[in-house]
Symmetry: C2
Subunit: 170 residues, 2 copies
């Protein structure tokens, strides 16, 4: 089965991201707006149990932290994905690092750039248009993060949450 690990920002940020995703992101209905911590990976039940135990240890050792978002950026020319750029604070980088070393296979396809995708798979003209408009916008979003989620993928491409890991518990 395919698994992934993500942070869901709080409702106001999800709503704001969805207002754009609805029009510009074909994955809109597959998963709520999120910050990917660990990209898709395969695991059987035994391996999964081992990883869940490790994820609990990681969550227990993590303190809630604040994220800041104040610009829209793009992964062009690699892909034309447009995203809310999440300030890459050390605690977030450390958290992601822990899920891609040791018992975890490194599933990163790219260096970790914390982000919330708001548009992808656009045609070139639409991409230029949307990005040209959004990259100029001034805004500031702030959010408290106190948990991450382990998800698995269904046959239709969508994701279901398997377990929530709250920071500093137990």
């Amino acid at each position: 089965m395919n698994y992934g690990i993500a942070i869901f920002p709080s409702k106001p940020i999800q709503d704001q991201a969805n207002a754009l995703r609805k029009r510009y992101d074909p994955h809109y209905s597959w998963i709520p707006p999120h910050i990917t911590l660990k990209e898709k990976f395969e695991a059987d039940d035994n391996k999964l149990n081992e990883l869940i135990s490790e994820l609990k240890t990681i969550a227990n050792a993590t303190e809630p932290f604040t994220i800041n978002i104040d610009k829209v950026r793009s992964f062009a020319p690699i892909t034309n994905t447009i995203y809310f750029k999440v300030e890459p604070i050390q605690v977030l980088l450390d958290l992601q690092e822990k899920m891609n070393t040791g018992k975890f296979k490194d599933t990163n396809k790219h260096p970790f750039v914390p982000h919330i995708t708001i548009a992808q798979d656009l045609l070139d003209d639409e991409y230029s248009d949307v990005y040209g408009r959004l990259e100029m916008e001034e805004f500031h979003l702030e959010d408290q993060v106190d948990r991450f989620q382990l998800l698995y993928q269904l046959d239709n491409g969508s994701w279901t949450v398997y377990e929530t890991f709250v920071f500093g518990k137990e």
Copy 2:
């Protein structure tokens, strides 16, 4: 904020339900296939924390159980919703009851009939057609349930998982 409580069956059952939901359920993209334990309710942050503590107590006191599904039924003539009927075993009824008494406001609009919706809001002709076909099918699905999920609703109508409660933990 609006919250709800649900069980996600395991992937094979979700995939099977989605194969039908994709065509027949306009809520298909709002939430994965699920058994609703507690219908939509409102709570502020204080109330939510109180309820989460209660949900932990409930989960701790619940042992994993097996559910069985072997027929498709409909809520007609009340609504034309078509669903996988989940055998109403006592442990499931008890679990649902605990979330609708005491600290929890009873949010049931109808008596509790455990089910996984596969079709809703169909036109009469399509409903008759789909239900006529599905109610004749013979099948047997069995699943282990060891957790439930607390979700909140976004502005677009979709649901995000807030926290998972695993049975018999802590």
